[in-house]
Amino acid sequence: MPVDHRRIRGPDESFSPRLFLPSGSAKCAAAEDRRSGDGARGNMDVRAIFARCGLVSQAKGSAYIEAGNTKVICSVYGPRETERRDETEMKRGKLLADVRLAPFSCRKRGQWIQGTEEKDLSQFLLESLRPGVLLQKYPRSQIEVCVMVLENDGAFLAHAVTCASLALADAGIEMYDVVMGCAARRSGDAVLLDPTFAEEHDEHPSPSGKESRLTLALMPAMNQVSGLQAEGEMDAESLVEAARACMEGCYKLYPVVQQTLLKSVRKKAPPPES
């Protein structure tokens, strides 16, 4: 394994204290029922989100989203001239996405070096956002979307999509529609919308043993799905059901996102002359 010479290094090997929990006690915290653990939230409810635009002073556009304890910040730079001219298509702009998880954002400490997982997340984010952006309006330029997950308490990728599209809108990039993200976890017959970390990683198998996770990105005004990924075990019907639930979830959050954008636009608008 290559050694990172550009960061201060700790011991060669260190272990999360969670690996040494006395057996038995480890998972009890995770297996709580949603209703008892999360106040009045039903299985099909999404967490209330707190969103705000324009927090990063240096960026063209930025947004911050908090859903429960999941915290995501995103900034957008550009459009600016593409760096690598050779491989770019001249007629359309290029969208770049970079998703990073802060090392302290998960239960287990992450590494700074971008792993394959983060690249995959970036890819999903990119493919979810791209249908929403009018890239043909930005020939020869590139737009960079940088996302940092500060705390992962479940469904961070879905919220990263929403956050990134808010930041794009804040940057004044032309878009067909905002892109909303929502995630669901299926365990047996139950669908849990917008799951928390504990719900996502519930180790107790359901009676039927089928578990799956799904993340969906939706453009609500156009009713188009721009991103979809699911893994685990599921039959087609339950997959469709979970996808529909996620779409519902997106529609529920849509007004909040609209309000957030309106608010940031109003703030930028010059005061009415009176």
């Binding site: 290094r9 204290p17 040494f20 006395p22 990063v56 070096i113």
Partner: protein, 277 residues
């Protein structure tokens, strides 16, 4: 007109303000930007703090892990600080491995930790020669508008004060550690280093807490780190315009005052957190 002047002749623009003993954002030369602090907002970290100095935003999260100590220091744990300047925080940084500035900042923070003895690594020992704690202090800049180092030190200090270590025992039979997440003890913070950064304009004018633009226009930067006893933990001046001893003395007195301000702020936030619970 003013906007045009600012972009066309940024240096002249700043000079015109400095002549009047004030700065483009309305501050006096020796005035810091508003500093806000939020402690313990990241629940996945064992300790965390978010600091804003004006626009500059820095977040520090501390993760604790267990490891075996080195042969040289069997009773010592590890403190591993790293400063990250992701592409998110400013267009001047590229994604990818940290650049020179981030690396120099990481080294600076490591030096401050070592010099000030804010943490005594002996406190992190669980069992001599066998097991100790590693404190990974990851400091991420979310918005870069100058004066990174001050913000990093405050974030680090506040996060350390917020850090709790779970109880660890070594099972005598299996020789495996057993962790009890329910029982936690706060980390002991021995000293309170606070930094103050200065920028030198035109070789003579000293301003505190420079913004990103002021940093790039200045001819030299300097950071002074003081602890509560009025001793200096670190004087960091990576180069730039030469300074006389007298000028240094001025900076030190400003840094002493700043220490009191920041100390008060941290105590106030910690106090209010206690009230809440």
């Amino acid at each position: 007109m003013a906007a045009g002047f600012k972009t066309a002749e940024p240096l002249e623009y700043h000079r015109s303000f400095l002549k009047e003993n004030c700065r483009p954002d309305g501050r006096e030369l020796g005035e810091f930007r508003a500093t806000t602090l939020n402690i313990g907002s990241i629940l996945t970290a064992e300790g965390s703090a978010l600091v804003k100095i004006g626009n500059t935003t820095v977040i520090c999260g501390i993760k604790t892990e267990l490891a075996s100590p080195t042969v040289d220091g069997p009773t010592k744990g590890y403190v591993v600080p790293n400063v990250e300047l992701p592409s998110l925080c400013s267009s001047r940084f590229r994604s990818g491995p940290p650049g020179e500035q981030a690396q120099a900042a990481s080294q600076f923070i490591a030096d401050v930790i070592e010099s000030s003895e804010v943490i005594q690594t002996e406190d992190l020992c669980v069992e001599k020669g066998k097991l100790c704690w590693v404190l990974y202090c990851d400091i991420v800049c979310l918005d870069y508008d100058g004066n990174l180092l001050d913000a990093c030190i405050i974030a680090l200090l506040a996060a350390l004060k917020n850090t709790q270590l779970p109880e660890v025992m070594i099972n005598s039979e299996t020789e495996q550690p057993v962790v009890d997440l329910e029982k936690k003890r706060p980390l002991k913070v021995h000293r309170h280093p606070v930094g103050s950064s200065f920028a030198v304009f035109d070789k003579t004018i000293l301003i505190v807490d420079p913004t990103a633009e002021e940093e790039s226009l200045s001819t030299g930067l300097m950071t002074v780190v003081m602890d509560e006893e009025g001793r200096m933990c670190c004087l960091h001046k990576p180069g730039g315009t030469a300074l006389s001893g007298e000028k240094l003395q001025d900076c030190v007195s400003r840094a002493v005052a700043r220490h009191t301000e920041v100390r008060k702020l941290i105590d106030k936030v910690l106090e209010s957190m206690k009230m809440d619970t």
